[in-house]
Symmetry: C4
Subunit: 256 residues, 4 copies
């Protein structure tokens, strides 16, 4: 039996909560979206899940060292959003389960979420499917009726293909349990991280769940991020020009 340990900081009584999962994946879209909501709204942590299937990003077991010199095993963290009319549990994490642990980890998440009375699962992630204009968010759902509803919200419907990793397994297993589940995918062409796609996904969540959140800080982060991208682009252009000059004048050392 693989190692699992659920640490509960609070055992809240919730009103038909939804679960929103955002983990590392394509363009870090899902993780950026959920992390931003948690940070911006200063949501309290209610639980942590540890597992022998949650490894460091490079595939080794081990601990992350935080900026203050403390260490922690890779883990899932559950945060609670509450307003006058509803409850939402956000699931954030710094890693995905290894391939052969995806089902076990997702089952533990669903067990915990059911113990909170939850029956609806939403996953946010990135997709490399291209999109343009207003419709930068793709969707898929457990049944055709939900697909139709999502269409009315302006999301594009994914037709064929697959969703890999925890972003697919969690809603897939939720469906087998008879829970409602859907996937929101922010279209991205960036490989490392894409805060703009994350913003589209946050807007989609706001629309679906009627969450109150200010996107001002996210816009600042996007501006900052784009400025750095431009600087990097200029630097690599400069670098290439120097390299070419060195190639054209091989007799001269390049630093002259």
């Amino acid at each position: 039996m693989a190692y699992f340990k659920l640490v509960e900081y609070d055992k809240p009584s919730l009103r038909d909560p939804a679960l929103v999962q955002g983990l590392p994946g394509i363009g870090l879209v899902g993780k950026l979206a959920v992390d931003y909501i948690i940070e911006e709204l200063k949501l309290p942590k209610i639980a942590e899940l540890y597992s022998g299937y949650l490894l460091l990003p490079e595939g080794n077991a081990g601990v992350f060292i935080e900026l203050n010199g403390t260490f922690n095993l890779p883990r899932y963290e559950f945060y609670l959003y509450r307003d006058e009319s509803k409850d939402v549990v956000f699931l954030a994490g710094n890693t995905q389960p290894v391939a052969w642990g995806q089902y076990d980890v997702a089952e533990r998440v669903l067990d915990y979420f059911e113990s909170l009375g939850g029956k609806r699962v939403i996953v946010v992630c990135g997709t490399t499917a291209a999109a343009s204009g207003e419709e930068r968010v793709y969707c898929a759902a457990d049944d055709p009726e939900t697909v139709e509803e999502l269409k009315k919200h302006g999301f594009r419907v994914s037709l064929s293909g697959s969703v890999t990793g925890a972003a697919g397994v969690l809603p897939g297993l939720a469906k087998v349990r008879g829970m409602k589940s859907l996937i929101l995918m922010g279209s991205t062409q960036r490989t490392y991280m894409d805060p703009e796609a994350a913003k589209e996904v946050i807007k989609a969540l706001v629309k679906l769940l009627d969450i109150k959140i200010d996107l001002g800080n996210l816009d600042k982060m996007i501006d900052e991020f784009k400025k750095r991208e431009e600087e990097m682009a200029k630097l690599s252009e400069l670098w290439e020009r120097m390299a070419e000059r060195a190639r054209r004048e091989p007799e001269q050392p390049w630093y002259v």
Copy 2:
């Protein structure tokens, strides 16, 4: 313990049923054969089996997205054929178990099949062994007597070698349980898919099980498939001629 979930839509009372498994493999022969029978005869689904060992074809856990925007985990599906004198359970699927899950998945299939009163297992698949003329189907069986019977039906006997994957493990484990089991392999030289080999396998099943089925639609599919193959062949011939012309006239840009 790996994740397993059997969803039963019907608990039929069956008369000594046979199980026929056809999963993705060499030339897609087994899958094409069983899928055609299920589609053509509009067989009702009686059960689904989900497992953490059933991954997407590329080896990741995840969900398939269907053409209507809904998603499903990879799964085995059981369909029921009945006529006045007999019952046959067909096992279809969109994936094979991972190597280390083959035994566990096959054991679950046999447990379920035994709960239906079944004691005979047939697997259909492809083989790269060459064959010609009338005898395009190879066979192997759990005991020499069955091998002799299959020979009389005109099948070629496999002598040495191995059958890998679910097509070997299911009948192998059935034999250890004392069940009768045999393998029918359609000879194919095509790597991606071979509907002609699938047709030979369907004819073999018809002969062995006395199933009533019209192969007209299959013949149409084969014609269609061959036409496309020819178009592809012409296209690649054209492409090669253009490439050669470009090679012979290097001073000229190729598009002149």
Copy 3:
């Protein structure tokens, strides 16, 4: 829990039996030795062990097809040698467990062997350590006293290094159980198979266990094997000469 199934054909009452394991490995030395003894003495099979950790040699799950068209899962087979004064159980097999199943499989073997009253384990295998003259068999044992005894029999003592696979794990786990165990390694420089090294190992077993066996058929097999090796060597020499001639006369087609 991985799949295991022990099939017992006989439940003999044994007199402090030894277990001798010979499985596929370096130069096939261990397998050839044990298979020869079983064949030559026509030993009866008393049990088979099936496991989800016993895969086909290429690492896939599946079945072997025998020369008569029947199939079998990879398995361990236990055979019984008896003479007036002692009993020996021989363990033969057509595969080794996968790396992550070595301990579980070896534990099942030891459980079964202990149920027969056994307390002594001998493993035969090959080694790439060079040796010459009379001393072509290396040894290692669970305690220094046994090492000294083996030395007196003329075996070379392995000093440092490791024994990988089932040939190491079975005696290693036997030692942890407090059983006596030792390893006999036939020195071989052949990669595929080495019947001469196997003969040295059989002679070592005869010496240690006082087994009565005629090696005449083995000598015939070795002669046969060497003759084929020589033919292969001549063929590849001829092939190389033809290839060189083709290289020296590039204008001519090679078949002129």
Copy 4:
């Protein structure tokens, strides 16, 4: 369930012992440090832990052959240090668990250590983070208070990054259990082994745990080690000069 076997040679009654783990890893720093302490102080062995997750360094299951011709499975060994005021358990080993067994093995270690009444875990290992002067030992801890204390001892605080393998998993899981835990990392730039970094780590342990030990033999080993390094450096210089001469005089055979 994976194979685990704890062999206890002694069941000592201990006074709030600390556990110090030093296993093979970067620069062999942790292993060299703990092995030196055990050897120099001739600590008695109190237990061994065997596991199917402890493989040979190359990733195969098997046994090590010792210099006297006996064999042993890879294992963890527990040694006991006692003086008038305190007890320390040292954990040494000749291998690390495979990636997917790290959690299970660490849990067994913690179970055993808790059965001895222990609540504090220290891991020593190497790190490739560069350091200079007096501060050649990096540290990380389970909470910020311990980090502050370690700083006062003159250790550098790791800020971000990760600790992989058993050196991270053991303290990570200890933290989840509510035990105190910390990591001491000797900075090393040597890939194979670094006895100088090990010395820094031993000095750190002496400071933290107030252990009495003579480092004279370690200094001799370091001198010996450096002498051999210099000889190797001279040899490879000579080798390169010969190779270069051969390159400059291509018409001549290199051995003239």
